[in-house]
Symmetry: C2
Subunit: 197 residues, 2 copies
């Protein structure tokens, strides 16, 4: 359609999530017509990130350091360890702002159907860490999806023999939500997990 280099760029842009052929074309033409400096910067940043960003050796989150800032921070307690699925979940919990323990990022969830077993999401590393460090509480904050729940159950079972108390974040009606619009599963869960006042 366009010249080969532009067509190649449009195809390459389609690797971005949520970007189809029309958006990719719009992005490519926008960058080349109006914002070449920003495009050059993006190419450089992307190349550098692909080359240097790897996983933190302690918590498996994405970082260009050997040990990420959160793991290296001496002000954070090592007594609590929160297990999440992705680095974006770490950010969400940090923005909530009331947790000062450490994290372990699975970068995925158990999914036997896709061939993803415990080693693929670093559960061996997690169990090793539970044994070697003085972790008192393991907080399971995987997503409340089928795979996330299965991963949480598996982790709870594995941690049982290790003298660590295990907890799961609460599920129920979100603040500001209206009961009328909440799905039945969530509402049933909220009833079953009610607390005395």
């Amino acid at each position: 359609m366009f010249s080969p280099l532009i067509d190649d760029l449009i195809n390459a842009l389609r690797c971005l999530p949520g970007v189809g052929p029309k958006s990719a074309q719009r992005m490519a033409l926008h960058l080349l017509e109006r914002d070449k400096p920003a495009a050059a910067k993006l190419a450089a940043r992307l190349g550098e990130a692909v080359e240097k960003v790897g996983r933190c050796q302690k918590c498996r989150t994405l970082t260009e350091q050997t040990i990420c800032n959160t793991c290296a921070n001496p002000k954070r307690s090592s007594k609590q360890l929160c297990v999440v699925e992705t680095p974006a979940d770490v950010l969400a919990i940090e923005q909530a702002g009331n947790y000062d323990g450490k994290y372990f990022v699975l970068l995925g969830h158990l999914s036997p159907i896709d061939g993803i077993g415990p080693e693929d999401i670093g559960i061996d590393l997690l169990l090793e860490r539970l044994q070697s460090e003085a972790v008192e509480e393991l907080i399971l904050a995987t997503n409340p999806t089928v795979e996330g729940e299965a991963t949480a159950h598996y982790l709870a079972a594995q941690a049982k023999g290790l003298n660590v108390s295990v907890s799961r974040i609460a599920h129920g009606v979100p603040l500001g939500g209206e009961l009328e619009y909440i799905d039945g599963g969530t509402l049933a869960h909220a009833f079953n997990s009610r607390r005395s006042v």
Copy 2:
């Protein structure tokens, strides 16, 4: 929030049209977590395109060649010259499939308020081409917006003395459209431009 390289990448991704902070974060994490080969390819393609893609010396469209494929194609008639605003417009007309003349791409439109005058959109080059080549018909296919119409009027006035017939693409009710849902301006235009059957 994340490590510096990842934050830089998220900021750089915001140069893409329609990408806000949340989408940029999602894109960066997706690329780094799941699709590093595609990300490396995108970085390479983008860098190459920024470096090599420039403008066709004849029609001003985006291309990495000196003269683009459409201009260099001897099978296309030089008697008709179609003026459009962007390379995407060329693609749209090519996909409609019934035009085999050549193009001239303004890469913008007249917009005195933004300081965009005739030289900025290559109108001097266009007029020179009308004089030096045997162009018989100049087809104005700028967008039916205020700026596009103003650009078309300006071009028509400029081309008047050059022995070239000037035409404007038709505006009216699109095929498959229902009158009930067409805006008043378009409908008035469709009435005023009615043709005898």
